[in-house]
């Protein structure tokens, strides 16, 4: 009989217990797993929170700010540049500038924007790259100033969300320069600071995109003229639309600057140099104040007022006449016969000649085996110092040079201020060359030959001067040995004490007497006489190339002979006693000195005409600065 297993209640209970025990174990494992998972997720979230809120808080705050805050520049107007009578030479005017919001910028838009606004795209890309290195992404960049009505129409038509949302217009004050290059070399121009400039100590404190003075007064007095830009921070939406202005720092404008320039004289000098190459300098020898300064050809600084177009820049840069060169302070040229008064002073002061010294001019003379011609082929006959200056006899001055050593000539020339910067408050002045034995050894490691002095005696050879140096030197000579530093800003703090040199006033009087004769006694500038004005002066014609070179070149290419014509010079001052104005004119390729004399004559005439019409109260008093009066002429 099979055994029948009977499940007892006990078994059943055990079984149930077992089952219940297993289920509990299983559930507890799962619960533990989910607990650990929850803790892990929580830790992960906490670490993320830590990273976002604590560890990189600044970074994310900055990024969030960039997404909604946009910084827009408020450009500060520069100070005005005024003449000595506070008449406006350089002004500011309202204009529109285009800025690019770089955070919205799509590079594929650049080509179309450049095309529409006539911007050099490569140049713009390069600027953006430079900007990216130094400026935060949310800072906008000005890409074009002085928008024309047409460019404004383009910007307005395309700056919507559908086309180029990165384009924004701002209202700014821009430079307004005189037209036609009027006084452009004095004023200079402004422009965006470049990478090489940022690496100089002068401009190291500026940032990419800043507008600075690049040349002339704009550069020299940049700190005074330049204001401080302001800034406007705005909240924009994701489409770049301004919703709120957060804060606004107003721009502070630069200070006005009064120059010593007299617009009346400047205008006449500009007109006299129209269609000519060269320079004109007018200065007051009693103070060193520059009354007029012209250099031609010139350029239009208005083209630089915003950002000059590559086409315009290339046009100026590639111009063979180099319009950016300020010939008044940067042209180093042989002065020709305008240097003769200083040769005479060197000869007289060194005792090489005395007042009674005469020579015979037969149209030329031989020195050291070489024949030197006089400009008057028939000769001047018997020539003394006075006649030698009045008629600019080369033979007379060959003899003076031959009797005076080159070092004595150099010494007097340096006393007069040649061969060194005058110290005018303009950047880029050059020194010129005053040759001497030491100079030749230092530069060529050769000894000086006496024959070379013959050329220097008529202002040729290695001797080079700038028009400003000639005006400065002549003014000091006419003042009896008082040289003021030429300067352009009419501010007493910029004036330095004069350099006084004790010279023999009798010798100076003899020379000045000759200079008076040049204009008033049938001399080389007799046609430029000014009735009623004691106008003294000296003509000069300076060869630009040697006769041999000219002869060789004429055979090769006669068409360019015009380029090698002599430079015409004239230096004049008035009145003879206590001069108030000295004017130098350099007329490149003018061929003959008398061609430059009318330029000086017109400027001096305008000076005395203006003086006669101004009220006594405003006339600058003629202060007798000369050490003592010139003695009367000996003749």
């Amino acid at each position: 009989m099979p055994v029948k297993l009977i499940r007892t209640d006990h078994d059943q209970e055990e079984r149930v217990k077992l089952i219940l025990r297993d289920d509990t174990k299983f559930a507890s494992v799962k619960i533990a797993f989910f607990q650990y998972l929850s803790v892990a997720v929580f830790l992960f979230l906490v670490s993320g929170f830590w990273q976002l809120q604590v560890q990189n808080q600044e970074y994310y705050i900055d990024r969030a700010a960039r997404n909604r805050i946009r910084s827009q520049p408020i450009l500060a107007p520069r100070g005005k540049i005024l003449d000595r009578d506070s008449r406006v030479i350089v002004d500011n005017h309202s204009s529109f500038s285009l800025i690019l919001a770089r955070e919205n910028l799509k590079t594929e838009h650049l080509k179309s924007i450049c095309e529409g606004l006539d911007i050099d795209c490569d140049d713009l890309r390069e600027r953006l790259r430079r900007f990216d290195r130094t400026r935060a992404k949310y800072e906008s960049i000005v890409i074009k100033d002085e928008l024309t009505p047409g460019e404004l129409a383009f910007v307005e038509a395309h700056r919507g969300q559908d086309t180029f949302p990165e384009m924004e217009l701002i209202h700014a004050q821009r430079r307004l320069y005189p037209r036609n290059g009027f006084a452009s070399h004095v004023i200079g121009y402004t422009g965006e600071v470049s990478d090489p400039e940022l690496n100089t100590t002068e401009f190291a404190r500026f940032r990419q995109g800043d507008i600075i003075g690049k040349a002339g007064i704009e550069r020299q007095y940049n700190d005074i003229l330049m204001g401080v830009d302001g800034q406007r921070r705005v909240i924009v939406d994701n489409r770049g639309r301004v919703h709120k202005v957060i804060d606004k720092k107003e721009a502070s404008s630069g200070r006005n600057l009064n120059l010593t320039i007299d617009l009346d004289l400047q205008a006449v000098a500009e007109l006299a140099m129209e269609n000519r190459r060269g320079a004109v300098i007018a200065l007051d020898p009693r103070s060193g104040e520059i009354l007029a300064m012209v250099s031609r050809p010139s350029y239009d600084p208005n083209k630089f007022a915003g950002r000059i177009r590559s086409k315009d820049w290339n046009e100026i840069r590639d111009n063979p006449d180099n319009p950016l060169l300020n010939r008044a302070i940067q042209a180093q040229l042989a002065p020709g016969s305008t240097f003769k008064p200083f040769i005479a002073m060197a000869a007289l002061d060194s005792g090489a000649i005395d007042d009674s010294f005469t020579v015979h001019c037969g149209g030329g003379a031989s020195f050291y085996g070489r024949y030197f011609k006089c400009h008057a082929a028939k000769g001047h006959g018997s020539v003394d110092l006075h006649k030698g200056i009045v008629h600019s006899c080369d033979v007379f001055f060959y003899n003076l040079g031959n009797r005076t050593s080159i070092d004595k000539i150099a010494q007097w020339a340096e006393t007069a201020g040649f061969g060194q910067r005058t110290g005018i408050d303009l950047p880029g002045e050059v020194e010129g060359i005053v040759p001497s034995t030491r100079w030749k050894i230092r530069n060529y490691r050769q000894k000086w030959y006496a024959g070379e002095t013959i050329s220097v005696a008529i202002g040729q050879g290695a001797l080079t001067v700038t028009p400003l140096q000639l005006a400065h030197a002549t003014g000091g000579l006419a003042m009896g040995g008082v040289w003021y530093r030429p300067h352009l800003v009419r501010d007493p703090s910029h004036q330095t004490p004069p350099r006084r040199v004790k010279i023999d006033l009798a010798h100076a009087a003899s020379v000045i007497d000759g200079l008076y004769g040049v204009v008033n006694e049938g001399g080389t500038a007799a046609r430029s006489r000014l009735p009623g004005i004691e106008f003294c002066g000296k003509t000069g014609s300076a060869q630009r190339v040697s006769n041999e070179f000219m002869k060789a070149h004429r055979q090769k290419n006669p068409l360019t002979e015009e380029d090698f014509k002599d430079n015409a010079w004239f230096v004049g001052f008035a009145p003879r006693q206590d001069p108030e104005i000295v004017v130098v004119a350099l007329y490149e390729s003018g061929e003959h000195g008398p061609e430059a004399a009318p330029i000086v004559r017109d400027v001096i005439k305008s000076y005395f005409d203006k003086k006669s019409r101004t009220t006594p109260a405003t006339v600058v008093a003629a202060v007798p600065l000369r050490q003592q009066p010139f003695p009367p002429p000996q003749r």
Partner: protein, 365 residues
């Protein structure tokens, strides 16, 4: 009394009848009537009933007889109305066709005369925004229409394409607040920027207060915006007045939207034209002949710097005129030195007070 009447009711009735008879006889004698009273009474009593019966009869017979007649009239009326409606519709259709033909001819004429390459398109829908002035054209990228292309009619510019799809394109109209285009005035060749205002009048911005713009003057596209070819009519000035800041407030009625919009031309390749010299007259079928080239159209100066000058410019001009008045050539040998104290334009006349002449136009300070 009541009891008495009830008791002698028959007698009472008889008496009443007799009395009434007597009274009626007396009334008939008194009134001298030809018709006997009984007839009068009969007629009077019957007439209302007869009238009702007659009315019912008449109405009934009339209704039936007239209904049958009216049925025809109504049908005829209906037919006539239907005919009239058809004729009206036909008339309207023909008018529309005529206008369409006119516009088509105008478009065709414009297309043939315009040096720009264009394609005709029909407006098939409008936008939904409250202020937006957006329409859809039935031509899209398959037909060469692309984003940024100009949309015009012979009357003037209409808008520009802002989106292009294969078979349709979206056009923003000249009146949309986000629309802008470069324009130039016909007479004084003043450049400005036209902007939509969300209604039928547009605003022209960036015209300096010193510039001359007259009411009624026509404006044309300047081509500056690189969207619209130069020389297309834009509209006529309705209001021109000086603004508070630098710029005039010039409002213009766009001519391109005046005749309604159904067919337009999309400029596929624009060619700039010159601005007509004579005033534009509203027309749809022909265009004015091409005028001579305009030498004054180019505006190279900044929008606010065109005519500005400094004292230096004034001074140069003054001395130039002084020299010219005295026949003096500056810096020229053999020339008599001039008297710079003479007024610039009066030859040899000395100024009475000996002072320098004041420039005609005061310089900017």
């Amino acid at each position: 009394m009541e009891i008495f009447l009830n008791r002698y009711r028959n007698l009472t009735v008889l008496l009443v009848v007799l009395v009434a008879q007597l009274l009626l006889l007396a009334f008939q004698v008194k009134s001298n009537g030809d018709v006997r009273l009984i007839r009068v009474w009969a007629v009077t009593g019957v007439m209302p009933l007869a009238r009702v019966v007659e009315a019912v009869r008449a109405n009934t017979t009339g209704f039936f007889s007239e209904y049958l007649v009216l049925l025809d009239v109504k049908e005829e009326n209906k037919r006539l109305k239907s005919s009239l409606g058809s004729l009206k519709m036909e008339n309207q259709f023909l008018k529309t066709e005529l206008a369409t033909a006119d516009r088509a001819r105008a478009l065709a004429a414009f297309q043939s005369r315009s040096p720009s390459r264009t394609i005709a398109a029909r407006i098939i829908g409008t936008g939904t925004g409250a202020n937006s002035k957006v329409v859809f054209l039935d031509r899209g990228s398959n037909a060469g229409v692309g984003k940024g292309m100009a949309v015009v009619t012979p009357d003037g510019i209409v808008g520009k394409v802002i989106s292009s799809y294969p078979s349709a394109s979206q056009v923003i109209l000249i009146t949309d607040p986000t629309f802008a285009a470069g324009v130039i005035s016909q007479k004084s060749r003043v450049h400005g920027t036209l902007k939509g205002q969300g209604h039928s009048i547009c605003l022209i911005e960036y015209i300096q207060n010193e510039e001359q713009v007259a009411v009624g003057e026509w404006f044309y596209t300047s081509g500056d915006d690189r969207v619209f070819p130069k020389g297309l009519p834009v509209g006529q000035v309705k209001i021109a007045r000086s603004g508070k800041m630098f710029f005039k407030e010039v409002f213009l009625v766009p001519s391109g939207l005046q005749q309604g919009l159904e067919e337009v031309l999309v400029v596929l390749e624009g060619v700039h034209q010159t601005i007509p010299d004579s005033p534009e007259t509203p027309q749809t079928l022909h265009l004015l002949p091409a005028p001579p080239p305009d030498p004054n159209a180019a505006g190279q100066h900044g929008v606010l710097s065109g005519n500005l000058s400094t004292d230096a410019d004034q001074m140069l001009e003054k001395y130039k005129r002084t020299g010219a008045a005295q026949g003096h050539v500056f810096g020229q040998a053999g020339n008599k030195p001039p008297n710079f104290n003479l007024p610039p334009d009066s030859g040899s006349v000395q100024p009475p007070d000996g002072k320098a002449a004041v420039p005609a136009n005061p310089p900017l300070r």
